[in-house]
Every structure is written in structure tokens, then in C-alpha cells.
Symmetry: C5
Subunit: 97 residues, 5 copies
């Protein structure tokens, strides 16, 4: 999973019924220092995430499908949780990294 | 999913029956600012997309297969919707991104 | 799918029975302008492709497996069609890309 | 699989029940020389790994799901083992690499 | 599949029973000219490959799992064959590439 930020949403003429009633979020994957990690992608929301939330992004198809409980949906990325806290352990000595 | 633009199509001597009757579209993935995101790829159309349309592109195999309702098809990318609107929320403060 | 060119083949001491009787092709993924897209990869042939052919390359495992009708084969890439023609629509205005 | 180092953990408001009771680890993929390989990712722990451990990281969805014995979980990366030793054979002549 | 060279092995405290009795090989993906293609990865051996062997590397999860006959194993890469010969056809004119 990647850490990402919700930055918008996408309205599309969906042809596949499985996407109806689901928000398609525009999310920006992030590096640990908060900088952009590549460009934004579109993910289905399964965590009631809102604009500005820092979220967990699943980037693989079968995993993403199960997140919404619809294993026959054409979903390859999904937001599966809103991040409360990241603990980057300072106690780990630099040479261990 | 990625945002992409339909820029052409591909005619191939298909050996796999599952592709018959489906358009193989040439699509160019895009960054948020509209610039090219890598080079073009070939995706099966499941959204009646046309040349010039801005579309949602699924880039994972199992997801792409389900989009056309044929889980035993050799499809790894599919166009699953035509984008009507992208809302990039300006209300999210820069430091949140 | 990617556009690729068949540039050779690979003879291996196969340990998995599912690969027997199948050609393992060396294929070079291509950009739209015909330049190399990364380095060559090895794909199973399911389209009777020959050296020099421009082909459609499926790059995902489950999709590749279904292309040869053997869902329990260790195949992650397959050549699924020989390209006859690519129509890159000139009618699409530059600003649309 | 990639070699990675556990550098922290992530606490999220999980919406999917399958993640409950599992640690979401922040892991940094590594090159052979110990330098960073891209940026850190988030993986579910199925090896009782701790901060500072050098681990084996599975980066594909279906594989990751099976590592935790929950094939319907939205997991795309998992820590599946703690590395004891890497033998980089010096006996292999340079020209063989 | 990628062409790779076996350069070592990895000993890990495996938590998943499916990996027991299998060698975890350290393999270096290669470009056609023999140079390194990114950094080394860890793959399960299903071809009795040895140090220095040039091998076929499957890099997708479901494919890798089937290579060892264990579809519920957390394996995302596997060595599935030892390469005997690569025929890079010189008869293909440069302009065809």
C-alpha cells in the first residue's frame, strides 16, 4: 500500500454498474517526506475518505476489488483506510536503515 | 485507474476469440496538467469511447477482464468510462497536499 | 497491452510442462514513434508470430495465462496478436491530447 | 520479493475488517548495497517482524493475501519473513554477472 | 518474463509453510547486452537453478505460484527455467526494430 492524499474527485459516465454509488477519488501518492510520488491516480473509495485526508491506497486489482466487496468489479486501486498516525521510529539507528 | 486520452485504434490479427467485436484503442495516459504520462498503451474498449475522449483506464488484468464481462480473456488494460468532469478541490490548503 | 516487435527467441531447459511446445519469444516493447520502450522481455507466443512482426503484448499474469488456455501456467507475458495497422487519428486537435 | 527494512508503523482507521489485529508496517525497500530502493511502502505483517528487521517483502496482491490466510483481504504487500542471512556468492566470476 | 542471473541466495526465518524446502534465490535481472536491469530481487526456485545460471524469471504473483504447484503460496517471483540459448535474429533488418 502507498500513503496518499485525497485531492479531488472524478465524475465519469460509468458504463460498469459496479462503480455506481461509489466515489472515484483523485489521490496523490506521497513520499515519506510528504512530497509527491509520481502523479495523481484515480481510486474507488471504500473508507469514506474526504478531501485532504491522508489515506492508505491499495494499488493492485484483486485486492482493490475485495475492498469493496465486489470481486467482479473493474477496480484496480482503492482507498481502504484513513491514516491516523505514522510512527517513524527514531530509535532505529541510521546504520540499520 | 489512470486518466487517459483516446488517440487512435489498433487493428490486429487477433488469435483469441474473446477480443473479436471489441475495439482495441490506443490511449495516452495523462498527468493532471494534461501532459503525457509515459507513452501510449493499447486497451480494450468497454465504454464506447471515441477518439479525443478523456477516459478512465484500468491497468490491471483481472480488473480489465471483468470490465468486459469475460473473465477468461487475455486483457490487461481496459477503458471503463468516459470522464465528464474532474474536480480538483481548490479549497484544500497547499500544505495539506 | 503494449506494442512490441519480435526480435528473437529463447531456448530454455523448461521445468514446467505447461511451456512445452510453445515458443518463448524475445520481444522489444516500442513507443509510438518506433523507438525502444525499455529493454526486451520474454513472452510466450499465442499468435504464431514470427521474427520482425509487430505484435500486441499482454504483460499481466492472469491475462497471459488465459491467452494460451492454460490457467495454471507460469506465464506472465504473452504475444496475443499480430498488428495489421495502427490508426493514429490526425483529426484529433493537438490541444486535445 | 524485495529485501526491505522495517522503519515504522502506520495506524489507520481501518474500514475493512480483514486488517484488524494486523500490524501495518512501514518498510523501506533496499538495494543489495543497503541503499534505499525507491521510497517506503506500507505492508501487512505476517512474520512478526519488528523495527529494524531486514525482511522479505511480497509486492503482489494475490500473493500478499495468501500470506495472511485471508484471500478476500485488500492487501497488496506483505512482510512474509525475517532475513537471517544473504549469501552473495563471491565464487561467481564477474563476467558471469 | 525477464532474463536474469542467479547471484546468491537468501536464508530467512520463514513464517509461511509453503516456502519450506524451497531455495530463495537472489537473482539479477539483465538487459539484452548483459548489463544490470535495475537491482537484484528474490525469487523462489522451481528450476533447480544454481549460482551463475542464466534463467527465466516470472515476475507476477499468480504465475509464480503456479510454477511451484502451490496456488496458495505467498510467492510473487519465481525462477522457472534455465536458459540454454538466446537467438537474437540478425536477419531482422535494423529498420524493423
Amino acid at each position: 500500500m502507498l500513503i496518499a492524499r485525497v485531492i479531488g474527485d472524478v465524475v465519469a459516465t460509468q458504463k460498469h454498474a459496479s462503480h455506481e454509488g461509489r466515489k472515484a477519488l483523485l489521490v496523490q501518492p506521497l513520499n515519506l517526506d510528504g512530497s509527491d510520488r509520481g502523479d495523481a491516480v484515480v481510486a474507488l473509495d471504500s473508507a469514506d475518505a474526504g478531501i485532504g485526508d491522508r489515506v492508505l491506497l491499495v494499488t493492485e486489482g484483486f485486492s482493490a476489488m475485495t475492498s469493496v466487496g465486489r470481486p467482479e468489479s473493474p477496480i484496480d486501486m482503492a482507498v481502504i483506510g484513513v491514516i491516523d498516525r505514522i510512527d517513524l521510529l527514531p530509535s532505529s539507528p541510521p546504520h540499520l536503515r
